[in-house]
Symmetry: C2
Subunit: 323 residues, 2 copies
């Protein structure tokens, strides 16, 4: 993350600073904040922050939840605080004396909504707000900034004295990321029957073994040629060692002709050869493969002296022993 | 964690079950829940759960916070939800149809307070509540169970319609852990001057290096002969690779006669020899040492053919090159 240009010694130990108000009129302040935000890779950074915040509050590893609609009211409220904290940390911002962030010496408040409507507290009046929203069902998010004043808020207050941004208010927002691509929530995007099958894969399982392993196996049977992130594995396995679950799934699914590629050793090469997304650290991609000859004109890869391609319907799947 | 004795196939995929009400009167249900809770290592387990919940919501790595008094209102509210989730996961419990947990087939609600007063919602009337509280300043916590009814609640309601447990109510609680030892919050327990010095260790630091390293060094200068957990290092360093920060502190502080022991290689032996707590995985213990002869009657340890003891005031501190 880029450093701010403010001298570091104004930052006190407790991360809250007081400093002389920068010169210039309201428009200058707004422009300075907008300019700084546009100087950083905003879509990638905020998209990752929102994904992280949603995943942490869902707490899939402990709860098995993947749908924000399943959050309790206190969790939805807290999600806004988590977004504020994660963005502050990712952007290397400091807290302002009154508002959530200092950006180029200007106070900026963070407002997040998981829906369409931001609720604005009275104390934000006159302040610049960084507005973020995320729709985890459609994998989109928005980032904008606006200066709050009475004329852009609806009249009605909720019982905390907060008011929503009006239609005129939404017009007044300067959208910095009008339609960002939220990193995908794999489980959310699956057909219902696949999700049910994955979570039910350990039903009726007895003995002292590992039901989470059965669910992880089913995940990679049903999600192929698509990167699966660590959090998805944790949510399915409900255990903390996701790499171990994936390694064991790799052994098991080999017998069904499925390979699971990670970010290490020969895996990136195999992924590239097969025209699959190359997995980043902490993500994996599965595919059903079959042995082919050098005359096969589909993307193919050499493993242990044999050639493999993605299996198409009707072909016998066969995976290499080691890769 | 011990398994519950209920057959597993009553557990639906979504982790919520409906099942016939167990037989017996109210007292039998209460006794069954108490008995199960007393059959597990409750103090150790719940103590770890409360520590984990508090640390997660403080989010020290991102915020530098270590004091629950610095939590915002929404975070304090959410802390109760986090405690509920972590206890459910640690105890391997399922959600009940209406309440937070099913324990031996009985519905039990989770109620946590960071203060002294539990607030009870109307819908808990007639239900068994698992009460937990934590005081992170005094490092104590309590666990009890009580069946909620009108006679044990104070009259006044807050605006959410919740009421506090009355004095009679507190008498009615069956305390399962009346005064548990909460795993220590190292930073909270330090003298103010040490805390300030640790967080200020990177003040005025310039250049592209690592201010978090300077703070980590200062942490181990000031906290000696006491186990320092991973979360404390993360909170001080504000970075995600705490083992790396500790390794670098080890190199630096060696020049000042300070050793930092972990859980691996010769470290547990050295810790035992010096009568220090043997660090568990993800924790470390520092000590200033000095070379001694075999006639020294203080606890001593051999490293690289030399004998070392904890340095006392006035002695020249000297640490081994490798250990």
């Amino acid at each position: 993350m880029p450093d701010q240009t403010l001298p570091l010694d104004i930052f006190a130990a407790q991360n809250v600073v007081s400093l002389p108000k920068p010169r210039g009129g309201e428009d200058d302040h707004f422009a300075a904040v907008a300019e700084w935000l546009q100087s950083i890779p905003l879509e990638k950074t905020i998209g990752a922050c929102l994904r992280q915040a949603i995943d942490e509050v869902l707490d899939g590893q402990r709860t098995g939840r993947f749908d924000v609609d399943d959050l309790e009211k206190t969790e939805k409220t807290y999600l806004g605080t988590k977004v504020e904290i994660i963005i502050r940390s990712a952007l290397g911002l400091k807290k302002g004396p009154r508002m959530d962030y200092l950006i180029q010496g200007r106070e900026v408040d963070s407002k997040f909504t998981i829906g369409k409507y931001w609720t604005i507290p009275r104390e934000a009046d006159g302040h610049i707000c960084l507005l973020t929203s995320a729709d985890d069902h459609d994998s989109v998010f928005r980032v904008g900034i606006v200066r709050i004043n009475n004329s852009i808020l609806n009249l009605g207050e909720n019982r905390d004295g907060k008011r929503t941004l009006s239609a005129a208010g939404r017009q007044a927002v300067r959208w910095l990321v009008p339609e960002g691509k939220l990193p995908t929530n794999i489980l959310m995007g699956l057909p219902e029957q696949d999700r049910v099958a994955i979570f039910a894969a350990s039903d009726g399982y007895r003995g002292h073994g590992n039901g989470g392993q059965l669910r992880t196996n089913e995940l990679f049977r049903r999600v192929q040629r698509k990167a699966v992130d660590r959090n998805t594995v944790l949510t399915v396995a409900r255990q903390d060692d996701s790499p171990k679950r994936v390694r064991d799934a790799r052994k098991k699914l080999r017998l069904e002709g499925i390979i699971i590629l990670g970010h290490q050793s020969s895996h990136p090469r195999i992924a590239r050869d097969l025209h699959l997304t190359v997995p980043e650290k902490g993500s994996w991609i599965a595919a059903k493969v079959t042995k082919v000859t050098s005359s096969c004109d589909r993307p193919k890869t050499e493993i242990d002296g044999e050639l493999y391609a993605i299996a198409v319907t009707g072909e016998t799947a066969e995976a290499p022993g080691t890769y």
